[in-house]
């Protein structure tokens, strides 16, 4: 159960719409299923009261939507930001991707989002409804008479188990209590990969990436992927709209993407959340973050607006390229 209730958020949105602070609201709404929550734009009270949803399945990070929506909407947009979303929000501001003046950001606390696959592992398929309002999550399936009570902490998404921060780094208004930056174990998985031999690691990634269907969901959801013309949509790039015709191409897509967001990725985990094939894409980005932290000192993209990522910053203390290479070599 989330600490701030759906009703509180709706009331907040309605009052901000009513006093003219904002002209539209970026929020979540129910999709086909209760766990299938999608982003939506609300412009009036009636649709908010009818459709606005806030529960353990509202994983979508709205920061990226601001790039397109601020260009279209007249007046300010109200956006609800979970702590991890605020990092993406700041990173996009650092890159001048939207006009801060056109956004009213409300920070909301987050108790972690649920991973529907973990719920299904407990309750099986055929889920007809999920009620997240009680102490436990009540999951009704078409096969059972009574809902199954699931402990929300047992079905947390990986990114929420390894949550890096409950602290909001950007907002105009904060609802509920402010949290802290967490000393998470998010690099442990990366360390396991690093401990593999190059051959093992190659096999691991080949196995994972072989499932890629090139649906582009990871790119489309990624808040760091906001290029006006994506390299994969650009006919001049030579890598445009390719299907994963062979194992080389499917790897190249993800490796190019990982390089493109290196130093800008806030580790929000949207790539892995939206992947229909359950590829742990966040591990690629985390490896980059870990390497950068080790080579150039701790850096969290989006922690503050205007910070200079180590890869596009030069200081006289920087490691020589050869030293970086040796460092990696000795790790492997």
């Amino acid at each position: 159960m989330q600490k701030v209730s759906q009703q509180q958020l709706i009331d907040k949105a309605v009052s901000l719409l009513a006093d003219g602070t904002v002209s539209c609201v970026l929020g979540w709404t129910k999709g086909e299923f209760d766990y299938d929550i999608t982003p939506a734009l609300f412009t009036d009270e009636a649709s908010l009261r009818q459709g606005f949803v806030w529960n353990d399945f509202c994983g979508a990070n709205f920061s990226k939507y601001l790039v397109a929506k601020t260009r279209k909407c007249e007046g300010k947009i109200l956006v609800f930001l979970k702590p991890c979303d605020t990092y993406s929000f700041n990173q996009l501001l650092t890159e001048h991707r939207f006009d801060r003046e056109k956004v009213y950001a409300v920070g909301i606390p987050c108790e972690g989002m649920a991973d529907i696959d973990k719920v299904k592992a407990i309750c099986g398929d055929g889920i007809s409804s999920i009620d997240c309002n009680g102490e436990k999550m009540a999951v009704q399936t078409i096969y059972e008479d009574a809902p199954v009570q699931v402990d929300a902490s047992s079905v947390l998404a990986e990114r929420c188990i390894n949550c890096k921060s409950k602290k909001h780094v950007a907002y105009d208004e904060l609802m509920g209590d402010e949290g802290d930056v967490i000393d998470s174990a998010r690099f442990d998985e990366v360390a396991k990969l690093e401990a593999m031999t190059p051959d093992e690691r190659f096999t691991f990634w080949q196995n994972e990436l072989s499932r890629c269907i090139r649906c582009n969901a990871c790119r489309d959801a990624c808040p760091a992927c906001t290029c006006e013309v994506c390299v994969f949509n650009n006919p001049k790039s030579g890598v445009e709209n390719k299907s994963p015709a062979n194992s080389f191409e499917e790897k190249m897509f993800h490796i190019i993407r990982a390089f493109h967001v290196a130093g800008r990725c806030t580790d929000c985990g949207e790539c892995s959340r939206v992947c229909p094939q359950n590829i742990p894409l966040h591990l690629l980005n985390r490896k980059f973050i870990k390497d950068m932290n080790e080579c150039y000192g701790e850096y969290q993209a989006g922690a503050e607006v205007g910070s200079r990522a180590p890869l596009v910053n030069y200081t006289t203390d920087d490691l020589e390229p050869g030293e970086v290479f040796n460092g990696r070599d000795s790790d492997a």
């Binding site: 890159e95 013309v229 390299v231 001049k236």
Partner: protein, 664 residues
């Protein structure tokens, strides 16, 4: 489709010795776009160039690949050839099959294979080349000379005489530099002051020259022809334009115990001082670390005695902005510190001195009024030991001193020895040396006079230890020629300390983006063919900032630097490099990554209106490159996350085509 001609050069046997040039020409014939391929002994010769021009006409070529030496060598030559044949000069690509191929490989099959691959890459690139036109930028017709020693003075005078305004920035209160501290100059023994001070006066009186003394360069922006420089003028607490240099303040100043830097601390000066009688500008300067008025507001005597009213205790550092077309670095040298050379007891005995201190001791304007007296007791020394190569030609592992030869020490030591024997024939003079190096006009004759006419004892060998004992200095040394250990009771030991570039040179090089070697000497654009230019366009080198030099060499190099500057300033417009970055506005995200990595500040942002696919308009922030400021380094193209930045002449597409051609 391009019509490409391939021209494979033999470079005599330089290339043809290790590369089968005919096979290279034959192999490249099959590459896409290639319509003509040939080889020739010397492509850069007139005949070779004529052949290229003829082939362009005959085969209607649109692009040229030259397989030859490094593009640094002859790219300009072949671009001119292409232009003469009616092609755009940027349709020429060079495959370096000499430095990167024939010179590094020994076996013909390997060399040939690599030459073919390099040629293929160049062909692949030319297929994507587009004609480029360089932009033009105006030239600010004013030069900046950093450093006011003999190098800076000569360069400034030569540039100013050609009619261009020159500013000299000197960090000391007076120009003159090290030469002003010298006594006599080798090999003619004329007095340094007698030949230097008229030049200093010329500088002061030249209507085209401004002197910023007691000043430093604090910021340099811009590029060749258009440098924006900020000069920091330190407060000297004396109004420069009012002070007459009468010296009344210097006489009356009660704080007289400040070590005199001009005499290397061998005597004292007041807190307000004029470094020496012929100083230019001849104005007083207050030392803020010594002046009681500035430190605690008590005194003010100098202001009271100054009839001109020049003293201004409230003066502040002043920042002056000026534009320049060319910058000459003439930052000079210093003797190295003797702290690491304990064996010579420099810090233990006042009677162990450096050669520059010896100059001051024999100078008529020095602390002893020119009488050679020991610093410790003021007595006349009867035995003097000169030690050469102190800190020069050191082993790199020794962790002290310099690996290079300081070049001037052999000659000035011969001069010191000779002058001492001439003035004080009762003095025994020993010179310990590793080698005596005297290449230079009348140099060896000079040294031989010291040995043969003046009976200076030249001993091949190094001094191992100097020990002060009573009023003597026990010198232990080895004579390598007679294989004997020597013990000399000396009255004075003179160390020929190595010279090193001034400490201000390193930060200055960073400001100028000029490169330096490991010893902090500025590197020249080419060690033989462009010795007075730095690799950074518009930055020139004069004097010892580039390497150890004596006065005649410094003056000739200063003149050479001046002639290069005059050549630059004489132009009204400079043709830029067309290989600059540009941003594709349709793709640019306005994220500022490029702006942050640009070392030249060439990238700015503007808000532009764009038509969106749904027929609305949106205002987006996009990058714009100033082509005059961009140096084409390409840092932005790799920082750009969306691939909107590209470098003309080195487009991502071209680089990828080259890589593909090599990996194929």
């Amino acid at each position: 489709m391009q019509r490409i001609g391939v021209f494979v050069c033999w470079c005599g046997s330089n290339i043809a010795g290790t590369v089968d040039v005919k096979a290279v020409a034959e192999a490249l014939k099959a590459e896409p776009g290639v319509v003509f391929s040939t080889d020739y002994q010397y492509m850069c010769s007139q005949a070779g160039q004529d052949m290229i021009k003829e082939s362009v006409r005959e085969h209607k070529l649109t692009g040229i690949v030259i397989c030859s030496c490094s593009p640094r060598m002859h790219e300009a030559t072949f671009r001119k050839t292409a232009a003469a044949a009616g092609l755009n000069p940027y349709m020429v690509e060079i495959a370096n099959i000499r430095e990167q191929c024939s010179w590094v490989h020994k076996e013909m099959p390997i060399g040939t294979e690599k030459a073919i691959i390099l040629g293929k890459a160049a062909v692949a690139k030319v297929n994507l080349n587009t004609p480029l036109t360089p932009g033009e930028s105006p030239v600010t017709k004013r030069a900046l000379v950093i450093g006011g020693g003999i190098a800076g003075i000569q360069t400034a005078l030569d540039i100013a005489d050609a009619g261009f305004p020159v500013d000299i920035v000197e960090k000391k209160p007076t120009i003159g530099g090290k030469m002003a501290q010298l006594d006599k100059t080798f090999p003619t023994l004329d007095c340094a002051a007698c030949i230097l001070t008229p030049k200093m006066v010329d500088v002061a009186q030249h209507e085209k020259i401004r002197i910023f003394s007691y000043s430093e360069v604090s910021e340099v922006k811009g590029f060749v022809g258009n440098f924006d420089v900020t000069i920091k003028k330190h407060a000297r607490y004396v109004k420069e334009d009012v002070c007459t240099g009468c010296g009344a303040c210097v006489e009356k100043c009660p704080m007289k115990k400040v070590p005199n830097e001009f005499n290397l601390g061998m005597d004292n000066r007041p807190a307000i001082y004029i470094p020496f009688a012929q100083a230019v500008p001849k104005v007083a300067t207050i030392d803020p670390n010594a002046c009681n008025m500035l430190k605690n507001g008590k005194c003010g005597l100098c202001a009271r005695v100054c009839t001109a009213g020049a003293i201004d205790y409230k003066q502040q550092d002043e920042y002056i902005q000026e534009k320049y077309g060319a910058i000459v670095v003439a930052t000079g040298f210093n003797p190295i510190s003797m702290d690491k050379f304990d064996e010579f007891a420099y810090n233990q005995s006042k009677d162990v001195i450096t050669s520059l201190e010896f100059e001051r001791l024999t100078n008529a304007a020095g602390p002893t009024a020119g009488k050679l007296l020991r610093p410790s007791d003021g007595k006349h020394p009867h035995t003097i030991v000169f030690v050469q190569c102190v800190g020069s030609r050191c082993d790199s592992c020794a962790q002290k001193g310099k690996e290079y030869c300081s070049k001037i020490c052999c000659m000035y030591t011969a001069k010191h020895a000779m002058l001492t024997r001439d003035k004080y024939p009762d003095t025994e003079v020993y010179v310990f040396y590793i080698d005596v190096r005297t290449p230079g006009k009348s140099f060896d004759e000079f040294y031989r006079r010291a040995v043969e006419e003046y009976d200076v004892h030249y001993i091949k060998g190094m001094v191992g230890k100097v020990t002060p004992q009573g009023d003597k200095l026990k010198v232990q040394a080895s004579d390598l020629l007679s294989n004997k250990q020597l013990h000399i009771d000396a009255d004075l030991v003179v160390l020929a300390a190595a010279i090193e570039p001034d400490k201000s040179a390193r930060p200055l090089a960073t400001m100028l983006t000029a490169s330096m070697d490991t010893n902090d000497f500025f590197t020249e654009a080419h060690p033989k063919l462009r010795p007075v230019e730095s690799p950074t366009a518009g930055v020139f080198l004069s004097g010892t900032c580039q390497g150890p030099k004596d006065i005649p060499e410094t003056v000739s190099q200063a003149g050479a630097a001046a002639s290069k500057v005059i050549g630059l300033l004489a132009k009204d417009k400079l043709k830029g490099n067309p290989c600059v970055a540009h941003s594709n506005e349709q793709m640019c995200n306005g994220c500022s990554s490029c702006e942050r990595v640009c070392p030249y500040g060439a990238i700015t942002y503007e808000d532009k209106e764009f038509r969106m696919p749904d027929r609305t308009t949106a205002i987006r922030r996009v990058a714009a490159v100033n082509p005059a400021v961009c140096q084409g380094c390409g840092a932005c193209t790799v920082a750009c996350p969306s691939g909107a930045m590209d470098l003309r002449g080195f487009m991502n597409e071209q680089i990828m085509a080259e890589v593909d051609a090599i990996c194929k």
